[in-house]
Amino acid sequence: MENHFYTLHDFLVYTKGAAYILMGVSVLGILGFWLYITGRDEEKDIQ
């Protein structure tokens, strides 16, 4: 794994890029997941 990257900078470009993409996906994912979990709650509150 270490052989891919000669510098800390290159390593961070790669890993931080992956992290941001994951964050974007997870924001939408968690929202969807939360809606799924609370989808059949008895009390339906508008707010």
Partner: protein
């Protein structure tokens, strides 16, 4: 100010309008100079001092002082403190305008403003703290805009769209708090990369925490401060709900601000202790650090505490002013006064009058937009069709008069 006689020739030339006019004229002139002579023709920026008052004030202070948006909406919607509900819309409006103007100010500061979207759409520097700041500010601006639209939609009468957006309030609020946490702290993190340039009393690996915690205090204080100003100048736009909740807001936010400031004070002291920087306190910069910490953090903390104990709302006004000034001072210290502290005095930076003029111009735009929107749209009052509170006695007739209010002249309203 003569505002009562519309027949007078100079009814448009009130002192206020003249000042505004001068500010706008200067703004236009300096804008022209900026884009014909470059930054050199307008600013005192140099290779040693690449960031000046447009970053220190317009960006750092602008973002910190717009923190009222996320703190108020979090208090009301996430923590369920419904009695603060009437303070949410003014806070969101302040924050939205604040962030929009930060982006506007950046168009003056960066070398190629039309490339501002590049980090998101062309090539991303994901190792950069500035990337994270930019991304969060961009997303948060969109969030704030969406949070503001119900007021505009109510004014325009688009019930269906307004209701759709209101249903997303909780998600928007939470998203806003998350984004705010990240970029408030990241603005501090910008300076993590320069331990050699920032004075040790302000440099700490905890800068991100300091910036975040102080932004909470700034947000709460700005709501109190802005409420005080709005009471003075926009009183006629406020409905009974807002007015009756106002005291609760001031007291509750004062309590919160006092605790947050106490926490911030302790964290700053811990920061000094952990890096063993006590000896710096005995220097000139140390004295300045103590001025910031004691006069603008500890003092307003106590004033807020007394406000709450004695239920003295007038004191909250002063505490909020001190807190806001303290945040401004802290951002100035980190980005300007304590930055490049080792450079010889001749190489230090001081803004040109044109830089200051542009900053004033930008704030003026914000104030005017705030006044326009809050007088035309349901910010300080609830639109009768979307009322969440049962109308108070006499409010039914009042609300019918709201659209007639243009003729109502509060003695201290600005003239037209």
């Amino acid at each position: 100010m003569n505002t009562e006689n519309p027949a007078a020739k100079n009814s448009l030339l009130t002192p206020f309008n003249v000042v505004i006019g001068i500010i706008f004229l200067l703004g236009a002139l300096i804008t022209f100079l900026r884009f014909t002579k470059g930054l050199a023709g307008v600013t005192n920026l140099s290779d040693n001092n690449p960031w000046g008052v447009w970053i220190s004030f317009d960006l750092l202070c602008g973002v910190a002082l717009a923190a009222g948006g996320y703190t108020t909406s979090a208090a009301c919607y996430v923590f369920g403190l419904k009695r603060y509900h009437s303070a949410v819309r003014p806070a969101i409006l302040t924050a939205f305008l604040g962030y929009a103007l930060v982006v506007f100010a950046l168009h003056y500061d960066v070398g190629r403003p039309w490339r501002l979207p590049y980090p998101f759409f062309v090539q991303s520097g994901t190792t950069s703290v500035l990337f994270e700041v930019g991304l969060c500010v961009f997303l948060y601006l969109v969030t704030l805009f969406v949070e503001w639209t119900p007021a505009a939609l109510e004014w325009l009468g688009f019930k269906k769209y307004r209701n759709i957006i209101v249903r997303g309030t909780m998600a928007l609020t939470i998203f806003g708090v998350v984004l705010s946490t990240m970029h408030q702290s990241s603005l501090g993190a910008l300076y993590l990369i320069v331990p050699s340039k920032l004075h040790p009393l302000w440099y700490s690996s905890y800068i991100p925490i300091f910036f975040f915690i102080s932004s909470i205090a700034a947000g709460l204080s700005m709501v109190i401060f802005e409420g005080t100003l709005s009471h003075h100048f926009l009183h006629h736009k406020m409905d009974r709900t807002y007015l009756s909740e106002h005291n609760d807001v001031v007291l509750g936010f004062s309590k919160g601000a006092s605790l947050v400031l106490a926490c911030y004070f302790l964290l700053k002291v811990v920061g000094v202790a952990l890096d063993n920087k006590w000896h710096y306190l005995l220097t000139g910069y140390g004295a300045w650090f103590l001025v910031e910490l004691l006069g603008f953090v500890a003092l307003p903390c106590f004033l807020y505490a007394i406000t709450v104990r004695e239920k003295n709302l007038a004191l909250a006004k002063w505490a909020s002013v001190l807190t806001v000034l303290g945040i401004v001072l802290n951002r100035f210290n980190v980005s300007w006064f304590a930055f490049n502290w080792q450079l010889p005095p001749a190489d230090r930076y001081f803004p040109s009058w044109m830089e200051i003029a542009i900053s004033i111009y930008i704030v003026t735009i914000g104030v005017l937009l705030f006044r326009f929107i809050s007088t035309k749209m349901p910010i300080f009052y609830e639109h009768p069709e979307y009322r969440e509170h049962a109308p108070h006695e006499g409010e039914e007739e009042e609300s019918a008069h709201f659209t007639e209010h243009k003729l109502h002249k509060h003695p201290q309203t600005f003239g037209h």
